[in-house]
Amino acid sequence: MDRSKRFWNPYVAGVALGLVLLSTFLIMGNGLGASGAANRIGIKALAAVAPLHVAGNAHMKGYLQGNPLDNWFVFELLGVLLGGAVAAYTAGRLKRQVIRGAGVRVVTRLSFAVGGGVVMGMAARMARGCTSGQALTGGAMLSVGSWVFMLAVFAGGYGLAYFVRRQWS
């Protein structure tokens, strides 16, 4: 197999990821994140359709002071999309497909994906961040809440894994 098409050694990839995170801390005084930007995109879209509804919601109205998309995390997300696409393309992995376990129907796989996404969207707002913003960023800064979150993610994942094993076998 061509060298560039293999996945990186996990430890080497981890150290590289850690250096990106460290640069983000030191240069910008910020962490990396993903779900925050998703929330902002959602609110922007909802505000375009139902502005009064958003303005009346205690959780969302704060984001409407100024453009919700004018934010570090949204621009960072743009970069993630670009970086992911370039990395996939240069490794010959840029391909339209549905990744699923053998014998799992496409419809089933996509329903699970949407459902899991919805659950994660809610969970990330509840926890003030997801695996990137809490576990990675807060984990590296040794925040108590982030470590609680991180251990809970693994607990939740392992707890449910047995029941959905058919999806991935």
Binding site: M28, G42, V119, A140
Partner: protein, 401 residues
């Protein structure tokens, strides 16, 4: 703040440039995630079936790399660790973070992604990744909709910025070294687990040697960095070492009153007494900040222009370390709140006929302050002296006039 990093100019003044940096750093983030294999749901989900521990290995090597880097940067004085933690880390809310974590883990195994990796998957063309990210957007909106029902739970177990080393009461770098060695031990455990649970033929035999070599390189590297970083404990310029518990310079009750009334923008007054005492009576314009809540305030972030004056019950032994991290001048009201009471809340003693102009002026100020604060009828004016026209006096403390 003496620390050179992060570049606050990049955040505040050169905002556009800062957003370009955001795209660049995001690019690196996405690129590394993809190359680690995190754009593929099957590889991520395998973590939860113990077949492939890549998620664990990547995540924890990233965490200890960034952690050690940050701690070393703080140790050599490049960055103020407490200030950085304030700006980077979200406050801790134990219960919603615990439940949110459990739910997110469940969503992870259902969808095969976490929010960040679903984006990388979407970028590499995986439709399951695209719909997952769509689900994340919808989910966060749903949370906003049901938020009124969860408002209390949303802030349950609030601890402010709460860091493990503060909780455990040990120097950050020592905890950093401990975390590093625990992680390395767990990596070795993860390798064993993979060997046990891996399916036949899954391990690419051709590159086994190379994998082992880079693994050993990273392990030795990280433990070396962790050990060497302990040296920073001995460096003199750590922020903690730079803040000796010293006595604060004082300001008299009269000087404080003058500034609060005449130039309120030059002082920032914190009342360090209990909330009850402060709630009953306090210096006008002062803010109730019980000592225990001082750490939550982000003192190093307050604008340093006004002098910070603290009012205590007269029992403050030495300056709390948190106060010394204020970037401006910190003063203590001499005599504590009792001195304020004696000066401003008691009727000023009457002046004799021989009082000088300065004394008259001081008396007038004090009488007006007393009247304004207590609602008592104004004290009788001082005996008039020839050639002195009384000026109208501002009565109330407060407001930029």
């Amino acid at each position: 703040m003496s620390a050179a990093l992060p570049f606050s100019a990049l955040i505040a003044e050169h905002r556009e440039f800062g957003l370009v940096i955001a795209v660049v750093l995001g690019f690196c983030f996405g690129f590394v995630l993809e190359r680690a294999g995190f754009g593929r749901a099957d590889k991520l989900a395998a973590q939860f079936f113990l077949r492939d521990m890549t998620v664990f290995k990547v995540m924890f090597s990233a965490i200890i790399t960034a952690m050690l880097g940050t701690l070393i940067a703080a140790g050599v004085g490049l960055v103020d660790l407490a200030a950085l933690a304030q700006s980077v880390v979200s406050a801790t809310y134990i219960w919603p973070m615990l439940v949110g974590g459990l739910l997110l883990g469940m969503g992870f195994i259902l969808s095969g992604y976490c929010p960040g990796t679903s984006l990388v998957a979407a970028a590499s063309g995986n439709i399951d990744g695209m719909v997952t990210f769509g689900g994340v957007i919808v989910g966060s909106l749903i949370y906003g909709e049901v938020f009124p029902l969860l408002a209390d739970f949303h802030v349950a177990g609030s601890k402010g910025t709460f860091l493990l080393y503060d909780w455990l009461g040990m120097p950050p770098i020592v905890l950093g070294a401990i975390v590093t060695f625990i992680a390395l031990a767990m990596f070795i455990g993860a390798e064993r687990v993979e060997q046990i649970f891996a399916r036949e033929g899954a391990a690419p035999a051709e590159s086994a040697q190379r994998v082992r070599r880079s693994r050993r390189f990273v392990f030795v590297g990280l433990s070396g960095v962790a050990l060497v970083s302990l040296v920073t404990l001995a460096l003199p310029n750590r922020p903690e070492a730079a803040a000796p518990p010293a006595d604060l310079p004082t300001i008299s009750a009269e000087q404080l009153a003058r500034r609060v009334v005449d130039r309120p923008w030059t002082v920032r007054v914190f009342d360090l007494r209990s909330r009850d005492a402060c709630g009953k009576q306090r210096v006008p314009q002062s803010r109730c900040v019980p000592l225990t809540e001082l750490a939550r305030l982000g003192v190093p972030y307050l604008a340093p222009e006004p002098d910070l004056v603290v009012v205590d019950a007269g029992d403050l032994k030495s300056a709390p370390a948190e106060l010394l991290r204020y970037r401006g001048r910190v003063l203590r009201l001499a005599g504590g709140f009792a001195a304020w009471q004696a000066y401003a809340l008691a009727k000023p003693p009457a002046l004799g006929a021989t009082a000088s102009a300065d004394q008259r002026e001081a008396y007038r100020f004090r009488a007006a302050l007393h009247a304004a604060l207590t609602g008592a009828p104004p004290a009788p004016p001082p005996p008039a002296a020839a050639g002195f026209a009384p000026k109208p006096k501002k009565k109330k403390g407060g407001g930029c006039s």
